[in-house]
């Protein structure tokens, strides 16, 4: 590993941090802390984008990092915290069932993700080899988190974390999508979050809570 440049080692370090944060989110019960973890994940993501930009000398990635920083670290967490306060969920916790089991399932998903990444990453740049597997693992872990949650807000955080995994895949595997696409994706995420915010109030108005079990009545009859 000695001949790997410093910037790349940094990218790998940040990648493993991202994976660790995904697991932390999987186990976090308190909704407000979940949002903080999401913000932290966004910060690490922005840092890794800067590291890739520095190591490959790609200037457009700095814009991408700035976009991540503004959107994922400042705007969305601020918005979610505000929402949590307005909805009175500061101290709300989820009763997660079988955290050890979820962790084990998560481990299995990570192994699967690395298996899936293997045939792809052999065609990539040097950085891609290890990080693409981590990106896929982040996506799968977010999906697992969404399945395990019973509250609307934490499902949305899972959805946003999934998008983080996508951005990480795009920066490390392909060194960033074209700028117009990145802006489009960011716009979609932002509008989506705002619409969901509106939606929370509609759900609460109707059911007096944000438990998703109220939303499980439509069945085939």
């Amino acid at each position: 590993m000695n001949d790997v440049p410093l910037a790349m080692q940094l990218v790998e370090l940040l990648a493993s941090l991202l994976l660790l944060l995904s697991f932390a989110m999987l186990a976090q019960r308190r909704i407000a802390s979940l949002v903080n973890l999401f913000a932290l994940q966004g910060a690490v993501l922005a840092a890794s984008t800067v590291a890739v930009a520095a190591s490959a000398g790609l200037h457009h990635l700095y814009y991408s990092a700035a976009l991540t920083l503004v959107l994922k670290v400042v705007l969305l967490p601020w918005f979610l915290h505000r929402l949590i306060v307005r909805l009175g969920l500061q101290w709300d916790t989820e009763t997660l069932v079988a955290i050890p089991l979820q962790m084990l399932a998560g481990l299995g998903l990570v192994i699967f993700a690395f298996g899936l990444a293997q045939p792809i990453s052999q065609f990539g740049h040097q950085i891609t080899r290890e990080t693409l597997g981590i990106a896929i693992a982040m996506v799968l872990l977010s999906l697992l988190m969404m399945i395990g949650r019973r509250k609307a807000v934490s499902q949305v955080v899972g959805f946003l974390a999934l998008e983080n995994g996508m951005v990480f895949a795009a920066t490390t595997a392909t060194q960033g999508m074209p700028m117009v696409v990145e802006f489009g994706i960011a716009l979609d995420v932002l509008v989506g979050a705002v619409i969901l915010g509106v939606f929370f109030f509609q759900i609460r108005e109707q059911f007096d809570s944000l438990e998703l079990r109220h939303l499980e009545t439509l069945k085939e009859d």
Binding site: I120, P178, I185, L218, D221
Partner: protein, 484 residues
């Protein structure tokens, strides 16, 4: 120029209706914007038919025979649905189901939805295609929950989460596509442009493209409503306002399928094998079969026709999967006639449910005596969608079945079985709704019948072959050739 008008008008309409969407003339304004968009679509179509494919706007937009026919279809159905929504929404407002604020949201989002559909169709950038389809979900999610009932909130939540997660898979597929293309085309930004990708598709890395296609198919397939990714579709169709059901079935599913077909062309070119085609055939057959049997269990009239949409999307996906000029031709024809017929049915169903004040089929009776035009509209539309001879669905299904017999004989009995089951399931429900004994009051506003019969007339002409030998056939043939 036409393209600027085509994309700019709905965007402008969205902004204008956000301001005046609750005024007394908002419905007319909505229809007017849709009409002018349709005219712009016609102008663009004429230009592409006469002058060949266009690549414009710094290569960001690409219009060929394949997508321009969808542009024409999308803007036409967008316009007729706006005509239908005028009396429909007026009745809903009179009955107190909607507040002015929600009406404004509805009109504004309707125009923005049209914008996302047209952007998805005309863009040359696979990334923007994804962005536009995701934006289409965002514009319609609040329309599905427009009535704010418990059921509509649940349907909208399901729609958002399932389509959001589904389409995120397509984003990953797009990233992988870019990953493969970047090595050939460089990172300059040309590597996501469809025209560039199409030119080098034979040299793209097959392993990466195969994995990318799985993600793309699952992602966009969720929006097409392919089984087993279809769960959001019946709920969203049943709980939203009926004009929204009409555009979801008539437009959104088509455009999502368009995205799948664009991806299939690239991947089939890179793989030098039939793997993508076989995957499409598998998903298509499964959708047809599962939807046909689920049709028997439906009690809600809008759910019934939502499942029918899944069935027809399955048929089209199967046909695109078979590939070849005849099957592609039939698939394009089926896309057109399904879109026209299904939206006509939803127009008739919309007024029928307003007449009966319920969506439960057992409580909708005797439409023919109550309002003969709605009754006949629903009956004729149902016969058309079930593939009865003089209508266009018959022509396209006949073509698909005969091609299947020749090229994929094993699939023919499955298709025939599903079509038979679907026929029985829908006909036994619609027949008493139209011919039974009535028990309801007339509508306060005269229903919008022009769109219903205009669509059915078009479908009839397509089916009788009055139009097919002319311009349209040549056009479809060119498009079918492009898909390969």
């Amino acid at each position: 120029m036409e393209l600027i008008a085509l994309l700019g008008l709905p965007l402008l309409g969205g902004a204008a209706l956000a301001l005046w969407g609750a005024s007394a003339r908002a419905a007319e304004l909505n229809a007017l914007f849709s009409l002018v968009t349709f005219l712009a679509g016609c102008a663009l179509t004429a230009r592409v038919i006469l002058g060949g494919p266009l690549v414009i706007g710094n290569e960001q937009f690409f219009v060929d025979a394949f997508n321009v026919f969808l542009v024409a279809l999308t803007s036409l159905v967008g316009f007729t649905t706006a005509l239908f929504s005028r009396p429909y929404m007026r009745i809903e407002t009179d009955r107190g189901h909607l507040t002015p604020g929600r009406l404004r949201l509805y009109h504004s989002m309707y125009q923005l939805f049209m914008f996302t559909m047209l952007l998805a169709l005309t863009t040359n950038n696979m990334g923007i295609l994804w962005v536009a389809l995701e934006a289409a979900t965002l514009t319609t999610v609040l329309l599905v929950s427009l009535y704010r009932t418990a059921a509509s909130l649940e349907a909208a939540w399901k729609y958002f989460i399932l389509c959001g997660v589904g389409i995120a898979q397509a984003l990953f597929g797009t990233i992988l596509l870019y990953f493969a293309a970047e090595r050939l085309l460089g990172a300059s930004g040309g590597a996501l442009l469809w025209t560039h990708l199409d030119a080098v598709k034979g040299q793209l890395e097959p392993t990466v493209l195969a994995i990318a296609f799985v993600f793309l198919l699952v992602g966009y397939g969720t929006k097409v409503g392919l089984v087993p990714l279809h769960n959001w579709l019946p709920d969203a169709h049943a709980e939203g306002p009926t004009p929204v059901s009409a555009v979801l079935s008539g437009l959104l599913l088509n455009v999502a399928l368009y995205a799948v077909v664009r991806c299939k062309i690239l991947v089939a070119g890179a793989l030098h094998s039939d793997l993508p085609g076989r995957m499409l055939m598998g998903f298509g057959l499964l959708s047809v079969l599962v939807a046909a049997f689920f049709l028997w269990r439906q009690r809600d009239v809008k759910r019934l026709f939502a499942y029918s949409s899944i069935e027809h999307m399955g048929i089209i996906t199967f046909a695109f999967g078979m590939g070849g000029p005849v099957a592609n031709f039939a698939a394009l024809l089926h896309m057109t006639v399904h879109s026209l017929t299904k939206s006509a049915i939803f127009f008739a169903v919309g007024h029928a449910t307003q007449l009966a004040r319920t969506q439960r089929m057992e409580d909708i009776r005797g439409l023919l005596l109550r309002s003969p035009t709605i009754g006949w509209g629903l009956m004729v539309g149902t016969l058309a969608i079930l593939g009865m001879p003089p209508f266009g669905v018959f022509a396209s299904e006949f073509l698909i079945l005969t091609t299947a017999m020749r090229e994929q004989p094993w699939a023919t009995p499955i298709l025939l079985l599903a079509l038979g089951v679907a026929f029985g399931a829908i006909f036994r429900r619609v027949q008493p709704m139209v011919f039974g004994e009535p028990h309801s009051l007339p509508l306060p506003h005269s229903p919008a019948l022009l769109p219903v019969f205009a669509h059915l007339l078009l479908v009839l002409m397509l089916g009788l072959g009055l139009y097919i030998p002319g311009q349209l056939a040549a056009w479809f043939r060119v498009a079918a050739g492009l898909i390969g």
